[in-house]
């Protein structure tokens, strides 16, 4: 039945109301489930490492530290400075390793190669290794994301 100036019938109105209500009900059940299955994750803003542990690192070598749940690679350059990378391949997320003799980073999963500055030079990786910033603050090496104070 439809009233004179109404846009839809009473049945359509009630169906819409019920349908909307059901959708909202289902949504209110699904929402907590979806929230539940995705745990919160926050990448660390910075990681502080005591400089004394790394002072004696040889040049052209790499040490691993924990960058959240990913490996961070701290590399000592020939001039004694440090470079830091997130040590996961930009192809499909495997952990990479540094080969000092070849001065390259290597991912064993699908033969991915990066040069000593983390630039992708061979195999499937589509982009360079992600870089982090390292600064020496008093007695500590502070490793930060780019753009964090």
């Amino acid at each position: 039945m439809k009233l004179k100036h109404s846009l839809f019938t009473r049945r359509q109105f009630l169906n819409g109301l019920l349908g909307g209500w059901l959708t909202a009900l289902v949504g209110s059940f699904l929402y907590p489930i979806i929230r539940f299955v995705f745990p919160p994750y926050k990448e660390p803003d910075k990681v502080v490492l005591p400089f004394s542990d790394f002072k004696d690192m040889a040049s052209n070598s790499v040490r691993i530290f924990s960058w959240g749940s990913k490996p961070g690679l701290l590399k000592r350059n020939d001039d004694g400075s440090f470079q830091v990378f997130v040590g996961v391949c930009t192809h499909l997320d495997c952990n990479v390793t540094y080969l000092p003799e070849q001065r390259k980073f290597f991912c064993a999963c699908h033969d991915g190669w990066y040069d000593e500055n983390g630039i992708n030079i061979g195999g499937p990786p589509p982009s360079p290794l992600r870089r982090l910033i390292v600064v020496l603050e008093e007695e500590n090496l502070v490793i930060k994301k780019e753009g964090v104070e």
């Binding site: 691993i64 997320d93 495997c94 589509p126």
Partner: protein
């Protein structure tokens, strides 16, 4: 009262309550066609055989396995070395999973080649594709559980693959991993998938699949169908079932022999910060995909190579799923292109697999 009478009495009691007669009547009426291609009919029940063995050995393994970061690898070590006959339980579980997937592939290809997916069996095929996906997912989740370097690296790659799918991809990766990275949460999650969620799905799907097959009857391949009166038919019970049992015995023999002589290895527990070990390989049934990802160039016309590779695979998957709707000619027509695609796919998969092993 004689035993026979008791037996009849029990049967009558049940029949009155649950209608046993309809089941026995159905079994008595069920016939299996006999022709030169009927060997493929045995692949389905062989899959069920290996599935059952996997379930039974899985029940055994779960008595000792501990799905935590600290204990996973160690508990499998214990199963392999301390638990009486534990090593063979694990070996059979692993081998029978491989056999199951091998037979799933053979089953599928045989249906594709004999065009058994055509009308009216479209839904049987589609439920079969879901079964393939769930079987592969069971293999993939099971592969992580030993938690050694190899399995963790393979899982990292495998769970990162969906990330290339636009929009939803990164959420799929997060859902699978239980976070941004492969961690202890991934292990518990995979354990849950492997022992409860996926088995539940596979049971429902097997039920549907078998129901569809009973509903439609067994397909008779092209060419033979037209002279249907001349195709011999064998009663399913007991004649065909006995033949199947002979096949099962043979397969069991092969399975146990391989399980005894080639048990799966176990490496030391994975270190999440360590670089990926050299020579990582997924299970054999993922090797061809692994090789595709390996050889795809990093950039193809400004698109990431892996994104393109994965989108292509996705398209192939969709084609595969909708095959009966794409190849919708009447069952008695030949399908040269569809047959060609099947052979091309087999050839491609074999070449890629061999290449990945070189």
């Amino acid at each position: 009262m004689r035993i026979k009478n008791i037996n009849i009495g029990i049967q009558a009691w049940f029949d009155e309550r649950i209608g046993l007669q309809s089941i026995t009547k159905f079994l008595r009426g069920k016939k299996v066609p006999q022709h030169k291609h009927s060997i493929w009919y045995y692949t389905g029940s062989s899959i069920l055989l290996f599935f059952s063995i996997s379930v039974l050995t899985g029940f055994m393994l779960v008595f000792y396995y501990k799905p935590t970061l600290e204990k996973a690898n160690e508990s499998i070590g214990r199963i392999m070395t301390e638990v009486p006959l534990g090593w063979i339980m694990r070996s059979i579980h692993s081998w029978s999973a491989s056999f199951m997937i091998a037979f799933v592939f053979v089953h599928l290809i045989s249906i594709w080649l004999t065009k058994a997916h055509r009308k009216p069996r479209e839904l049987t095929w589609m439920s079969g594709v879901f079964l393939l996906v769930v079987s592969l997912a069971l293999g993939f989740t099971g592969y992580l559980l030993p938690w050694d370097d190899l399995s963790v690296s393979a899982t990292k790659v495998g769970t990162d693959i969906p990330r290339s799918i636009p929009v939803v991809g990164c959420w799929v990766t997060k859902l699978l991993r239980g976070g941004e990275d492969v961690t202890a949460d991934t292990l518990t999650r995979f354990f849950g998938f492997h022992v409860s969620i996926l088995p539940l799905f596979i049971l429902i799907l097997i039920g549907l699949h078998v129901y569809f097959i009973q509903k439609q009857g067994i397909s008779i391949p092209l060419g033979l169908e037209r002279k249907e009166e001349r195709v011999k038919k064998l009663p399913f019970w007991p004649n065909f079932v006995y033949r199947e049992m002979v096949v099962w015995l043979l397969l069991l023999g092969i399975l146990f022999t391989l399980s005894i002589f080639f048990p799966p290895s176990l490496d030391k527990a994975a270190d999440l910060m360590a670089p990926a070990p050299e020579g990582i390989k997924p299970e054999w049934y993922f090797l061809f995909l692994f090789q595709v990802l390996k050889v795809f160039p990093s950039k193809v016309l400004f698109i990431n190579g892996d994104t393109l590779a994965i989108i292509l695979m996705l398209f192939f998957g969709i084609f595969f799923f909708f095959l009966p709707l794409i190849d919708n000619r009447p069952a008695e027509k030949k399908g040269k292109i569809i047959t060609f695609i099947a052979y091309a796919f087999i050839f491609f998969a074999i070449v890629m697999t061999v290449w990945s092993l070189m």
